[in-house]
Protein backbone atom coordinates (compact mmCIF):
# COMPACT_ATOMS: atom_id res chain seq x y z
CA UNK A 1 0.00 0.00 0.00
CA UNK A 2 1.12 3.55 -0.65
CA UNK A 3 0.03 6.48 1.50
CA UNK A 4 0.80 10.07 0.57
CA UNK A 5 0.23 12.50 3.42
CA UNK A 6 -0.06 16.27 3.00
CA UNK A 7 2.67 16.40 0.36
CA UNK A 8 4.15 19.75 -0.69
CA UNK A 9 6.80 20.16 -3.38
CA UNK A 10 8.21 23.01 -5.41
CA UNK A 11 9.59 22.91 -8.94
CA UNK A 12 10.59 26.33 -10.24
CA UNK A 13 7.52 28.52 -9.86
CA UNK A 14 5.18 25.50 -9.74
CA UNK A 15 3.91 24.22 -6.40
CA UNK A 16 2.42 20.87 -5.51
CA UNK A 17 0.26 21.33 -2.40
CA UNK A 18 -1.84 19.39 0.10
CA UNK A 19 -1.61 16.09 -1.76
CA UNK A 20 -3.04 13.24 0.30
CA UNK A 21 -4.29 9.85 -0.85
CA UNK A 22 -3.96 6.14 -0.31
CA UNK A 23 -3.76 3.33 -2.86
CA UNK A 24 -4.22 -0.24 -1.69
CA UNK A 25 -2.34 -3.25 -3.09
CA UNK A 26 -3.78 -4.42 -6.39
CA UNK A 27 -5.77 -1.27 -7.03
CA UNK A 28 -5.22 1.48 -9.58
CA UNK A 29 -5.53 5.20 -8.86
CA UNK A 30 -5.95 7.29 -12.00
CA UNK A 31 -4.67 10.82 -11.62
CA UNK A 32 -6.38 13.02 -14.17
CA UNK A 33 -5.99 16.67 -15.02
CA UNK A 34 -5.02 19.10 -17.76
CA UNK A 35 -1.42 19.49 -18.96
CA UNK A 36 0.73 21.26 -16.40
CA UNK A 37 -1.49 20.46 -13.40
CA UNK A 38 1.31 18.55 -11.63
CA UNK A 39 0.65 14.90 -12.49
CA UNK A 40 4.24 14.16 -13.56
CA UNK A 41 5.69 16.16 -10.64
CA UNK A 42 3.57 14.10 -8.25
CA UNK A 43 4.88 10.82 -9.74
CA UNK A 44 8.47 12.11 -9.65
CA UNK A 45 8.05 13.04 -5.97
CA UNK A 46 6.88 9.49 -5.22
CA UNK A 47 9.77 8.03 -7.25
CA UNK A 48 12.26 10.29 -5.44
CA UNK A 49 13.19 12.21 -8.58
CA UNK A 50 11.76 15.52 -7.35
CA UNK A 51 12.52 17.00 -3.93
CA UNK A 52 9.63 17.11 -1.48
CA UNK A 53 9.25 20.26 0.66
CA UNK A 54 7.10 18.63 3.34
CA UNK A 55 4.73 15.73 3.89
CA UNK A 56 5.23 11.98 3.87
CA UNK A 57 5.30 9.15 1.36
CA UNK A 58 4.78 5.80 3.03
CA UNK A 59 5.19 2.58 1.05
CA UNK A 60 4.26 -0.68 2.78
CA UNK A 61 4.59 0.98 6.18
CA UNK A 62 8.04 2.48 5.49
CA UNK A 63 8.42 6.25 5.25
CA UNK A 64 10.48 6.69 2.06
CA UNK A 65 10.23 10.50 1.89
CA UNK A 66 13.93 11.05 2.61
CA UNK A 67 15.25 8.02 0.71
CA UNK A 68 17.04 8.29 -2.65
CA UNK A 69 15.24 6.77 -5.69
CA UNK A 70 17.38 3.61 -5.65
CA UNK A 71 16.20 2.72 -2.12
CA UNK A 72 12.47 3.22 -2.73
CA UNK A 73 11.64 0.25 -4.99
CA UNK A 74 9.21 2.31 -7.08
CA UNK A 75 8.69 1.31 -10.72
CA UNK A 76 8.42 4.39 -12.92
CA UNK A 77 7.38 4.45 -16.57
CA UNK A 78 7.69 7.99 -17.97
CA UNK A 79 5.49 9.29 -20.78
CA UNK A 80 8.28 8.80 -23.36
CA UNK A 81 9.00 5.32 -21.88
CA UNK A 82 12.75 6.20 -21.59
CA UNK A 83 13.90 2.83 -22.92
CA UNK A 84 17.70 2.84 -22.90
CA UNK A 85 18.99 3.47 -26.43
CA UNK A 86 21.54 1.35 -28.31
CA UNK A 87 20.22 -1.69 -26.43
CA UNK A 88 17.81 -4.52 -27.12
CA UNK A 89 14.57 -4.98 -25.22
CA UNK A 90 16.20 -7.98 -23.49
CA UNK A 91 19.15 -5.87 -22.28
CA UNK A 92 16.77 -3.13 -21.07
CA UNK A 93 14.72 -5.62 -19.06
CA UNK A 94 17.85 -7.43 -17.85
CA UNK A 95 19.31 -4.20 -16.42
CA UNK A 96 16.19 -3.77 -14.27
CA UNK A 97 15.99 -7.48 -13.39
CA UNK A 98 19.63 -7.49 -12.19
CA UNK A 99 18.71 -5.08 -9.41
CA UNK A 100 15.38 -6.71 -8.51
CA UNK A 101 14.73 -7.79 -4.99
CA UNK A 102 13.71 -11.43 -5.18
CA UNK A 103 12.31 -11.59 -8.71
CA UNK A 104 12.90 -15.09 -10.11
CA UNK A 105 13.57 -15.92 -13.75
CA UNK A 106 10.18 -17.68 -14.03
CA UNK A 107 8.46 -14.51 -12.83
CA UNK A 108 10.32 -12.46 -15.41
CA UNK A 109 9.34 -14.87 -18.20
CA UNK A 110 5.73 -14.67 -17.03
CA UNK A 111 5.77 -10.86 -17.31
CA UNK A 112 7.19 -11.11 -20.82
CA UNK A 113 4.54 -13.66 -21.76
CA UNK A 114 1.66 -11.70 -20.23
CA UNK A 115 2.74 -8.52 -22.01
CA UNK A 116 3.23 -10.46 -25.28
CA UNK A 117 6.70 -9.14 -26.07
CA UNK A 118 8.52 -12.49 -26.58
CA UNK A 119 8.97 -11.76 -30.30
CA UNK A 120 10.66 -8.39 -29.84
CA UNK A 121 13.09 -9.30 -27.05
CA UNK A 122 16.13 -9.22 -29.34
CA UNK A 123 15.11 -6.11 -31.23
CA UNK A 124 16.83 -2.80 -30.64
CA UNK A 125 14.46 -0.44 -28.81
CA UNK A 126 14.70 2.11 -31.63
CA UNK A 127 13.06 -0.42 -33.96
CA UNK A 128 9.90 -0.88 -31.87
CA UNK A 129 6.44 0.53 -32.50
CA UNK A 130 4.93 2.83 -29.85
CA UNK A 131 2.74 0.01 -28.52
CA UNK A 132 5.72 -2.36 -28.23
CA UNK A 133 7.77 0.34 -26.52
CA UNK A 134 4.97 0.85 -24.01
CA UNK A 135 4.81 -2.86 -23.17
CA UNK A 136 8.62 -3.16 -23.01
CA UNK A 137 8.79 -0.18 -20.62
CA UNK A 138 6.10 -1.67 -18.35
CA UNK A 139 7.85 -5.08 -18.45
CA UNK A 140 11.15 -3.42 -17.54
CA UNK A 141 9.58 -1.52 -14.62
CA UNK A 142 7.97 -4.73 -13.32
CA UNK A 143 11.21 -6.72 -13.78
CA UNK A 144 12.76 -4.70 -10.95
CA UNK A 145 9.96 -6.07 -8.70
CA UNK A 146 8.76 -2.69 -7.44
CA UNK A 147 6.47 -2.14 -4.46
CA UNK A 148 4.56 0.57 -6.36
CA UNK A 149 4.15 1.11 -10.11
CA UNK A 150 3.88 4.64 -11.53
CA UNK A 151 2.67 5.01 -15.12
CA UNK A 152 2.94 8.53 -16.50
CA UNK A 153 0.49 8.98 -19.39
CA UNK A 154 1.46 5.62 -20.92
CA UNK A 155 -0.87 6.18 -23.87
CA UNK A 156 0.23 9.70 -24.78
CA UNK A 157 2.69 8.48 -27.43
CA UNK A 158 0.19 6.08 -29.02
CA UNK A 159 -1.79 6.90 -32.15
CA UNK A 160 -5.59 6.83 -31.93
CA UNK A 161 -6.19 3.22 -33.14
CA UNK A 162 -3.43 1.85 -30.86
CA UNK A 163 -4.83 3.87 -27.98
CA UNK A 164 -8.24 2.34 -28.67
CA UNK A 165 -6.66 -1.14 -28.63
CA UNK A 166 -4.94 -0.26 -25.35
CA UNK A 167 -8.23 0.86 -23.83
CA UNK A 168 -9.87 -2.40 -24.78
CA UNK A 169 -6.82 -4.43 -23.81
CA UNK A 170 -6.32 -2.73 -20.48
CA UNK A 171 -9.31 -4.58 -19.13
CA UNK A 172 -7.71 -7.92 -19.95
CA UNK A 173 -3.95 -8.06 -20.52
CA UNK A 174 -2.79 -5.15 -18.38
CA UNK A 175 -5.26 -5.88 -15.60
CA UNK A 176 -3.97 -9.50 -15.58
CA UNK A 177 -0.43 -8.20 -15.19
CA UNK A 178 -1.39 -5.69 -12.52
CA UNK A 179 -3.42 -8.32 -10.64
CA UNK A 180 -0.52 -10.78 -10.86
CA UNK A 181 1.75 -8.33 -9.06
CA UNK A 182 -0.84 -7.04 -6.63
CA UNK A 183 0.93 -3.74 -6.06
CA UNK A 184 -0.56 -0.25 -5.93
CA UNK A 185 -0.55 1.45 -9.32
CA UNK A 186 -0.75 5.18 -9.96
CA UNK A 187 -1.67 6.02 -13.53
CA UNK A 188 -1.82 9.53 -14.93
CA UNK A 189 -3.78 10.66 -17.96
CA UNK A 190 -5.62 13.67 -19.35
CA UNK A 191 -7.93 11.45 -21.38
CA UNK A 192 -11.41 11.05 -19.86
CA UNK A 193 -12.20 7.77 -21.63
CA UNK A 194 -8.91 6.24 -20.55
CA UNK A 195 -9.46 7.39 -16.97
CA UNK A 196 -12.90 5.81 -16.93
CA UNK A 197 -11.65 2.32 -17.89
CA UNK A 198 -8.27 2.05 -16.19
CA UNK A 199 -8.61 3.02 -12.56
CA UNK A 200 -10.52 1.84 -9.51
CA UNK A 201 -10.32 5.32 -8.04
CA UNK A 202 -9.78 8.66 -9.67
CA UNK A 203 -8.11 11.87 -8.49
CA UNK A 204 -8.60 15.09 -10.44
CA UNK A 205 -5.76 17.60 -10.17
CA UNK A 206 -5.69 21.32 -10.88
CA UNK A 207 -2.83 23.78 -10.29
CA UNK A 208 -0.88 21.32 -8.16
CA UNK A 209 -3.78 20.29 -5.91
CA UNK A 210 -6.17 17.37 -5.86
CA UNK A 211 -9.64 18.87 -6.36
CA UNK A 212 -11.57 15.63 -5.96
CA UNK A 213 -10.72 12.01 -5.26
CA UNK A 214 -13.13 9.10 -5.20
CA UNK A 215 -14.64 6.21 -7.10
CA UNK A 216 -14.90 6.77 -10.84
CA UNK A 217 -18.71 6.88 -10.80
CA UNK A 218 -18.80 9.41 -7.94
CA UNK A 219 -16.42 11.79 -9.70
CA UNK A 220 -18.10 11.44 -13.10
CA UNK A 221 -21.64 11.68 -11.63
CA UNK A 222 -21.01 14.38 -9.03
CA UNK A 223 -18.07 16.64 -9.87
CA UNK A 224 -17.14 18.59 -6.76
CA UNK A 225 -16.19 21.86 -8.42
CA UNK A 226 -16.74 24.04 -11.47
CA UNK A 227 -13.23 23.19 -12.71
CA UNK A 228 -13.87 19.44 -12.65
CA UNK A 229 -17.27 19.83 -14.33
CA UNK A 230 -15.71 21.95 -17.08
CA UNK A 231 -12.76 19.53 -17.44
CA UNK A 232 -15.21 16.65 -17.85
CA UNK A 233 -16.99 18.62 -20.58
CA UNK A 234 -20.22 19.11 -18.63
CA UNK A 235 -22.62 22.09 -18.84
CA UNK A 236 -21.65 24.60 -16.15
CA UNK A 237 -24.11 27.44 -15.54
CA UNK A 238 -24.34 30.22 -12.99
CA UNK A 239 -27.79 30.79 -11.45
CA UNK A 240 -29.74 32.27 -8.50
CA UNK A 241 -31.72 30.18 -6.01
CA UNK A 242 -35.42 31.01 -6.46
CA UNK A 243 -36.84 28.62 -3.90
CA UNK A 244 -35.34 25.88 -1.75
CA UNK A 245 -36.59 23.10 0.50
CA UNK A 246 -35.09 19.95 2.03
CA UNK A 247 -36.06 17.90 -1.01
CA UNK A 248 -35.43 20.22 -3.91
CA UNK A 249 -34.21 23.62 -5.06
CA UNK A 250 -35.27 25.82 -7.98
CA UNK A 251 -32.59 27.90 -9.67
CA UNK A 252 -33.06 30.69 -12.18
CA UNK A 253 -30.50 30.26 -14.94
CA UNK A 254 -30.66 33.06 -17.47
CA UNK A 255 -34.45 33.21 -17.57
CA UNK A 256 -35.04 29.44 -17.38
CA UNK A 257 -35.89 27.85 -14.02
CA UNK A 258 -34.27 24.47 -13.29
CA UNK A 259 -35.37 22.16 -10.47
CA UNK A 260 -32.79 20.01 -8.73
CA UNK A 261 -33.11 17.30 -6.09
CA UNK A 262 -31.39 16.71 -2.79
CA UNK A 263 -29.84 20.08 -1.97
CA UNK A 264 -30.72 20.35 1.72
CA UNK A 265 -27.96 22.78 2.57
CA UNK A 266 -29.23 25.53 0.25
CA UNK A 267 -31.81 28.20 1.06
CA UNK A 268 -33.63 30.96 -0.84
CA UNK A 269 -31.19 33.71 0.10
CA UNK A 270 -28.19 31.63 -0.85
CA UNK A 271 -27.45 33.83 -3.85
CA UNK A 272 -25.39 32.58 -6.75
CA UNK A 273 -24.90 28.85 -7.29
CA UNK A 274 -23.30 26.70 -9.95
CA UNK A 275 -25.43 24.29 -11.94
CA UNK A 276 -23.77 21.23 -13.46
CA UNK A 277 -25.52 19.04 -16.02
CA UNK A 278 -23.86 16.23 -18.01
CA UNK A 279 -24.52 16.44 -21.78
CA UNK A 280 -25.69 12.81 -21.79
CA UNK A 281 -28.36 13.67 -19.15
CA UNK A 282 -30.04 16.21 -21.45
CA UNK A 283 -32.74 14.70 -23.57
CA UNK A 284 -34.19 16.44 -26.62
CA UNK A 285 -37.84 15.70 -27.31
CA UNK A 286 -40.23 16.77 -30.09
CA UNK A 287 -43.12 17.02 -27.57
CA UNK A 288 -43.65 18.61 -24.19
CA UNK A 289 -44.58 15.32 -22.57
CA UNK A 290 -42.00 13.29 -20.64
CA UNK A 291 -40.53 11.22 -23.44
CA UNK A 292 -38.61 8.53 -21.59
CA UNK A 293 -41.04 6.00 -20.04
CA UNK A 294 -38.78 5.36 -17.04
CA UNK A 295 -38.78 9.09 -16.19
CA UNK A 296 -42.55 9.07 -15.71
CA UNK A 297 -43.38 9.90 -12.10
CA UNK A 298 -39.98 11.56 -11.55
CA UNK A 299 -39.54 15.29 -11.21
CA UNK A 300 -38.41 16.46 -14.63
CA UNK A 301 -37.39 19.83 -16.09
CA UNK A 302 -39.04 20.50 -19.45
CA UNK A 303 -37.84 23.65 -21.19
CA UNK A 304 -38.33 25.23 -24.61
CA UNK A 305 -35.17 25.26 -26.64
CA UNK A 306 -33.86 26.12 -30.08
CA UNK A 307 -31.20 23.96 -31.72
CA UNK A 308 -28.26 26.16 -32.66
CA UNK A 309 -25.89 23.51 -34.03
CA UNK A 310 -25.43 19.78 -34.56
CA UNK A 311 -22.14 17.97 -35.15
CA UNK A 312 -20.94 14.38 -35.18
CA UNK A 313 -18.15 13.56 -32.70
CA UNK A 314 -17.15 9.92 -32.84
CA UNK A 315 -20.28 7.84 -32.39
CA UNK A 316 -22.47 10.58 -30.88
CA UNK A 317 -24.12 13.76 -32.10
CA UNK A 318 -23.34 16.87 -30.08
CA UNK A 319 -26.15 19.40 -30.07
CA UNK A 320 -25.98 23.02 -28.94
CA UNK A 321 -29.38 24.11 -27.67
CA UNK A 322 -30.33 27.60 -26.54
CA UNK A 323 -32.69 27.72 -23.53
CA UNK A 324 -33.60 31.22 -22.36
CA UNK A 325 -30.29 33.12 -22.35
CA UNK A 326 -28.08 30.11 -21.87
CA UNK A 327 -26.61 27.54 -24.22
CA UNK A 328 -26.62 23.84 -23.30
CA UNK A 329 -24.58 20.97 -24.76
CA UNK A 330 -26.48 17.73 -25.28
CA UNK A 331 -25.40 14.32 -26.55
CA UNK A 332 -27.75 12.16 -28.57
CA UNK A 333 -27.36 9.09 -30.76
CA UNK A 334 -27.35 9.54 -34.57
CA UNK A 335 -30.32 7.15 -34.86
CA UNK A 336 -32.34 9.24 -32.43
CA UNK A 337 -31.42 12.43 -34.34
CA UNK A 338 -32.89 10.87 -37.52
CA UNK A 339 -36.18 10.17 -35.72
CA UNK A 340 -36.20 13.64 -34.11
CA UNK A 341 -36.29 15.38 -37.54
CA UNK A 342 -34.68 18.51 -36.19
CA UNK A 343 -32.28 20.90 -37.92
CA UNK A 344 -30.32 23.92 -36.69
CA UNK A 345 -32.85 26.66 -35.91
CA UNK A 346 -35.57 24.11 -35.11
CA UNK A 347 -37.57 24.01 -31.87
CA UNK A 348 -37.18 21.18 -29.35
CA UNK A 349 -38.16 20.46 -25.77
CA UNK A 350 -35.20 20.02 -23.46
CA UNK A 351 -35.91 17.41 -20.78
CA UNK A 352 -33.61 16.99 -17.76
CA UNK A 353 -34.37 14.79 -14.79
CA UNK A 354 -34.22 16.88 -11.57
CA UNK A 355 -31.96 14.31 -9.93
CA UNK A 356 -29.39 14.84 -12.72
CA UNK A 357 -29.12 18.59 -12.06
CA UNK A 358 -26.24 19.15 -9.60
CA UNK A 359 -26.14 22.37 -7.62
CA UNK A 360 -22.82 23.52 -6.15
CA UNK A 361 -22.43 26.52 -3.86
CA UNK A 362 -20.34 29.13 -5.67
CA UNK A 363 -17.99 29.53 -2.70
CA UNK A 364 -16.61 26.03 -3.35
CA UNK A 365 -14.83 27.49 -6.35
CA UNK A 366 -11.04 27.35 -6.33
Amino acid sequence: MITVLNLYARRGSFNLAEISFEVAKGSVLTVMGPNGCGKTTLLECIAGLCKVSSGNIIIDGVDVTGLPPEKRRVGYVPADYALFPNMTVRRNIWLAFKKSNGMCLDGLQRIIRLLQIEDVMDRNVECLSSGQKQKAAIARALAAKPNVLLLDEPCSALDTPTREIFRRGVNSMFKDVFREFSIPIIYTTHDLLEASVVGDKIAVMNYGRIEQIGCINDVFESPASKFIAEFLGYNVLIGHVVSASEAHVSVDVGGAVLNAEGCGNLHENFGEVIIVIRPQDIFLSPTKEVFKPKWKGCQCNILDGIVRGLRMEGSVVKADVVVGDVSLKAEISPDYLDSLHVKPGGKVFVQIKASKVKVLPKRVEV
Partner: protein, 262 residues
Protein backbone atom coordinates in the same frame (compact mmCIF):
# COMPACT_ATOMS: atom_id res chain seq x y z
CA UNK B 1 17.43 25.35 -68.80
CA UNK B 2 17.99 28.75 -67.25
CA UNK B 3 21.40 29.20 -65.58
CA UNK B 4 21.18 30.12 -61.92
CA UNK B 5 23.93 32.75 -61.47
CA UNK B 6 23.91 32.52 -57.69
CA UNK B 7 24.39 28.75 -57.73
CA UNK B 8 27.23 29.07 -60.25
CA UNK B 9 29.01 31.63 -58.04
CA UNK B 10 28.79 29.53 -54.87
CA UNK B 11 29.93 26.43 -56.81
CA UNK B 12 32.96 28.34 -58.09
CA UNK B 13 33.90 29.31 -54.55
CA UNK B 14 33.58 25.66 -53.53
CA UNK B 15 35.79 24.63 -56.44
CA UNK B 16 38.38 27.24 -55.46
CA UNK B 17 38.62 25.88 -51.90
CA UNK B 18 38.91 22.28 -53.18
CA UNK B 19 41.68 23.15 -55.68
CA UNK B 20 43.50 25.24 -53.07
CA UNK B 21 43.78 22.36 -50.61
CA UNK B 22 44.36 19.73 -53.30
CA UNK B 23 47.34 21.74 -54.59
CA UNK B 24 48.71 21.96 -51.07
CA UNK B 25 48.21 18.23 -50.41
CA UNK B 26 49.69 16.81 -53.64
CA UNK B 27 52.59 19.21 -54.16
CA UNK B 28 55.03 17.41 -51.79
CA UNK B 29 54.51 14.18 -53.75
CA UNK B 30 54.88 15.88 -57.17
CA UNK B 31 57.83 18.12 -56.57
CA UNK B 32 60.02 15.73 -54.56
CA UNK B 33 61.94 12.96 -56.30
CA UNK B 34 60.63 9.46 -55.44
CA UNK B 35 64.05 8.20 -54.21
CA UNK B 36 64.16 11.05 -51.70
CA UNK B 37 60.70 10.15 -50.45
CA UNK B 38 61.62 6.45 -50.12
CA UNK B 39 64.84 7.28 -48.26
CA UNK B 40 63.01 9.56 -45.90
CA UNK B 41 60.35 6.89 -45.21
CA UNK B 42 63.09 4.43 -44.26
CA UNK B 43 65.08 6.92 -42.19
CA UNK B 44 65.34 6.17 -38.49
CA UNK B 45 64.52 9.76 -37.61
CA UNK B 46 61.13 9.76 -39.33
CA UNK B 47 60.26 6.40 -37.81
CA UNK B 48 61.24 7.71 -34.34
CA UNK B 49 59.12 10.82 -34.84
CA UNK B 50 56.18 8.75 -36.05
CA UNK B 51 56.25 6.33 -33.08
CA UNK B 52 56.79 9.16 -30.57
CA UNK B 53 53.86 11.11 -32.06
CA UNK B 54 51.57 8.08 -31.89
CA UNK B 55 52.65 7.35 -28.30
CA UNK B 56 52.35 10.91 -26.97
CA UNK B 57 49.08 11.61 -28.82
CA UNK B 58 47.58 8.39 -27.42
CA UNK B 59 48.74 9.25 -23.88
CA UNK B 60 47.45 12.82 -24.00
CA UNK B 61 44.12 11.65 -25.52
CA UNK B 62 43.66 9.02 -22.81
CA UNK B 63 44.39 11.59 -20.09
CA UNK B 64 42.07 14.16 -21.64
CA UNK B 65 39.27 11.57 -21.90
CA UNK B 66 39.80 10.45 -18.29
CA UNK B 67 39.72 14.09 -17.10
CA UNK B 68 37.19 15.23 -19.69
CA UNK B 69 34.43 12.68 -19.00
CA UNK B 70 33.67 13.81 -15.41
CA UNK B 71 34.16 17.49 -16.31
CA UNK B 72 31.85 17.25 -19.34
CA UNK B 73 29.28 15.28 -17.32
CA UNK B 74 29.34 17.91 -14.56
CA UNK B 75 28.87 20.71 -17.10
CA UNK B 76 26.10 18.79 -18.85
CA UNK B 77 24.08 17.65 -15.83
CA UNK B 78 24.79 19.85 -12.82
CA UNK B 79 23.27 23.25 -12.23
CA UNK B 80 25.32 25.41 -9.90
CA UNK B 81 26.05 29.04 -9.20
CA UNK B 82 28.74 30.44 -11.52
CA UNK B 83 28.34 27.65 -14.11
CA UNK B 84 28.30 30.06 -17.05
CA UNK B 85 31.41 31.80 -15.65
CA UNK B 86 33.26 28.47 -15.54
CA UNK B 87 32.08 27.61 -19.06
CA UNK B 88 33.37 30.98 -20.25
CA UNK B 89 36.69 30.43 -18.47
CA UNK B 90 37.07 27.03 -20.14
CA UNK B 91 36.77 28.71 -23.54
CA UNK B 92 39.93 30.80 -22.87
CA UNK B 93 42.51 28.02 -23.54
CA UNK B 94 40.81 27.35 -26.89
CA UNK B 95 41.20 31.02 -27.86
CA UNK B 96 44.85 31.33 -26.74
CA UNK B 97 47.41 30.38 -29.46
CA UNK B 98 49.09 27.03 -28.59
CA UNK B 99 52.52 28.68 -28.67
CA UNK B 100 51.43 31.15 -25.95
CA UNK B 101 49.99 28.25 -23.93
CA UNK B 102 53.37 26.51 -24.22
CA UNK B 103 55.20 29.64 -23.04
CA UNK B 104 52.88 29.90 -20.01
CA UNK B 105 53.52 26.26 -19.11
CA UNK B 106 57.29 26.76 -19.54
CA UNK B 107 57.22 29.79 -17.23
CA UNK B 108 55.14 27.84 -14.69
CA UNK B 109 57.61 24.92 -14.57
CA UNK B 110 60.73 27.09 -14.60
CA UNK B 111 59.76 30.12 -12.48
CA UNK B 112 56.77 29.20 -10.27
CA UNK B 113 57.89 27.49 -7.01
CA UNK B 114 55.11 24.91 -7.29
CA UNK B 115 55.99 24.27 -10.94
CA UNK B 116 59.69 23.92 -10.09
CA UNK B 117 58.83 21.50 -7.29
CA UNK B 118 56.76 19.35 -9.66
CA UNK B 119 59.31 19.52 -12.47
CA UNK B 120 62.25 18.64 -10.25
CA UNK B 121 60.66 16.48 -7.58
CA UNK B 122 57.79 14.61 -9.25
CA UNK B 123 58.00 14.43 -13.03
CA UNK B 124 60.26 16.35 -15.41
CA UNK B 125 58.26 18.13 -18.09
CA UNK B 126 60.59 20.82 -19.41
CA UNK B 127 62.43 19.59 -22.55
CA UNK B 128 61.36 15.99 -21.87
CA UNK B 129 58.82 13.57 -23.41
CA UNK B 130 56.25 14.07 -20.59
CA UNK B 131 56.35 17.74 -21.61
CA UNK B 132 55.05 16.74 -25.06
CA UNK B 133 52.12 14.87 -23.47
CA UNK B 134 51.37 17.80 -21.16
CA UNK B 135 51.55 20.34 -23.99
CA UNK B 136 49.24 18.21 -26.16
CA UNK B 137 46.87 17.71 -23.20
CA UNK B 138 46.78 21.50 -22.61
CA UNK B 139 45.79 22.08 -26.23
CA UNK B 140 43.31 19.22 -26.77
CA UNK B 141 41.55 18.91 -23.38
CA UNK B 142 39.13 21.80 -24.06
CA UNK B 143 38.18 20.28 -27.43
CA UNK B 144 37.67 16.91 -25.73
CA UNK B 145 35.48 18.44 -23.00
CA UNK B 146 33.36 20.34 -25.53
CA UNK B 147 32.79 17.25 -27.69
CA UNK B 148 32.05 15.05 -24.67
CA UNK B 149 29.60 17.61 -23.23
CA UNK B 150 27.79 17.71 -26.55
CA UNK B 151 27.44 13.95 -26.53
CA UNK B 152 26.21 13.84 -22.88
CA UNK B 153 23.75 16.64 -23.66
CA UNK B 154 22.29 14.33 -26.30
CA UNK B 155 21.44 11.67 -23.70
CA UNK B 156 18.33 12.75 -21.74
CA UNK B 157 18.83 12.81 -17.96
CA UNK B 158 15.53 10.94 -17.73
CA UNK B 159 17.34 7.67 -18.60
CA UNK B 160 19.48 7.97 -15.49
CA UNK B 161 16.43 8.87 -13.40
CA UNK B 162 14.62 5.73 -14.56
CA UNK B 163 17.73 3.60 -13.94
CA UNK B 164 17.87 4.94 -10.39
CA UNK B 165 14.31 3.78 -9.74
CA UNK B 166 15.51 0.23 -10.57
CA UNK B 167 18.07 0.47 -7.77
CA UNK B 168 21.15 1.86 -9.56
CA UNK B 169 23.19 4.55 -7.82
CA UNK B 170 24.12 7.75 -9.69
CA UNK B 171 27.53 6.32 -10.62
CA UNK B 172 26.03 3.00 -11.75
CA UNK B 173 23.38 4.81 -13.82
CA UNK B 174 26.18 6.74 -15.52
CA UNK B 175 28.23 3.61 -16.22
CA UNK B 176 25.38 1.32 -17.32
CA UNK B 177 23.09 3.79 -19.08
CA UNK B 178 24.65 7.15 -20.02
CA UNK B 179 28.07 5.94 -21.20
CA UNK B 180 26.67 3.18 -23.45
CA UNK B 181 24.18 5.69 -24.88
CA UNK B 182 26.95 8.24 -25.53
CA UNK B 183 29.71 5.83 -26.63
CA UNK B 184 29.73 7.02 -30.22
CA UNK B 185 30.18 10.62 -29.10
CA UNK B 186 32.93 9.62 -26.66
CA UNK B 187 34.79 7.70 -29.40
CA UNK B 188 34.43 10.60 -31.83
CA UNK B 189 35.78 13.00 -29.18
CA UNK B 190 38.74 10.69 -28.58
CA UNK B 191 39.56 10.34 -32.31
CA UNK B 192 39.31 14.06 -33.07
CA UNK B 193 41.38 14.91 -29.98
CA UNK B 194 43.98 12.31 -30.99
CA UNK B 195 44.23 13.77 -34.51
CA UNK B 196 44.62 17.26 -33.04
CA UNK B 197 47.29 16.05 -30.58
CA UNK B 198 49.21 14.32 -33.37
CA UNK B 199 49.63 17.59 -35.24
CA UNK B 200 50.34 19.74 -32.16
CA UNK B 201 53.43 21.95 -32.55
CA UNK B 202 53.31 25.35 -30.84
CA UNK B 203 52.90 24.34 -27.19
CA UNK B 204 55.12 21.27 -27.67
CA UNK B 205 58.09 23.18 -29.08
CA UNK B 206 57.92 25.69 -26.22
CA UNK B 207 57.63 23.20 -23.33
CA UNK B 208 59.42 20.09 -24.63
CA UNK B 209 61.79 21.79 -27.05
CA UNK B 210 62.94 20.47 -30.43
CA UNK B 211 65.69 17.94 -29.78
CA UNK B 212 66.38 15.27 -32.44
CA UNK B 213 65.71 11.70 -31.26
CA UNK B 214 64.39 13.01 -27.94
CA UNK B 215 61.36 15.23 -28.21
CA UNK B 216 61.00 14.94 -31.96
CA UNK B 217 57.36 14.38 -32.86
CA UNK B 218 56.21 14.52 -36.50
CA UNK B 219 55.46 18.25 -36.33
CA UNK B 220 58.83 18.94 -34.65
CA UNK B 221 60.56 16.75 -37.29
CA UNK B 222 58.82 18.81 -39.96
CA UNK B 223 60.18 22.00 -38.37
CA UNK B 224 63.72 20.58 -37.95
CA UNK B 225 63.83 19.21 -41.50
CA UNK B 226 62.65 22.51 -42.88
CA UNK B 227 65.36 24.31 -40.88
CA UNK B 228 67.93 21.88 -42.35
CA UNK B 229 66.47 22.37 -45.87
CA UNK B 230 65.71 18.59 -46.14
CA UNK B 231 62.84 18.82 -48.64
CA UNK B 232 62.41 15.01 -48.82
CA UNK B 233 62.04 14.74 -45.06
CA UNK B 234 59.58 17.62 -45.01
CA UNK B 235 57.49 16.01 -47.76
CA UNK B 236 57.42 12.60 -46.07
CA UNK B 237 56.47 13.98 -42.68
CA UNK B 238 53.75 16.16 -44.25
CA UNK B 239 52.49 13.11 -46.12
CA UNK B 240 52.41 11.02 -42.92
CA UNK B 241 50.51 13.75 -41.05
CA UNK B 242 48.05 14.08 -43.92
CA UNK B 243 47.53 10.31 -44.13
CA UNK B 244 46.89 9.99 -40.39
CA UNK B 245 44.46 12.92 -40.45
CA UNK B 246 42.59 11.42 -43.42
CA UNK B 247 42.31 7.99 -41.77
CA UNK B 248 41.08 9.48 -38.48
CA UNK B 249 38.50 11.66 -40.21
CA UNK B 250 37.26 8.70 -42.26
CA UNK B 251 36.54 6.78 -39.07
CA UNK B 252 34.91 9.85 -37.47
CA UNK B 253 32.71 10.47 -40.52
CA UNK B 254 31.64 6.83 -40.49
CA UNK B 255 30.70 7.15 -36.83
CA UNK B 256 28.93 10.47 -37.33
CA UNK B 257 26.98 9.21 -40.32
CA UNK B 258 25.28 6.84 -37.92
CA UNK B 259 24.80 9.89 -35.72
CA UNK B 260 25.13 10.26 -31.99
CA UNK B 261 21.86 8.38 -32.25
CA UNK B 262 20.21 7.52 -29.00
Amino acid sequence: MKLNIFRVIVSLFLLFVLIFYLCAFVSPAIFVEPWRLANAFLSEEVRFAFYLSIFTATCSTLISIIVGVPVAYALSRLDFRGKSLIEGFLDVPAAVPPIALGVMLLIFFSRNPLGILINEGVIRFVFEVPGIVLAQFAVISILTIKLLKESFDGVPARYEMVARTFGYSELESFIYVTLPAAWRGVLTAALLSWARALGEFGATVMLAGATRFKTETLSIALYLNLAAADVGGVAVVSFLLLLTACLTLMVVRKLLRRGFAI
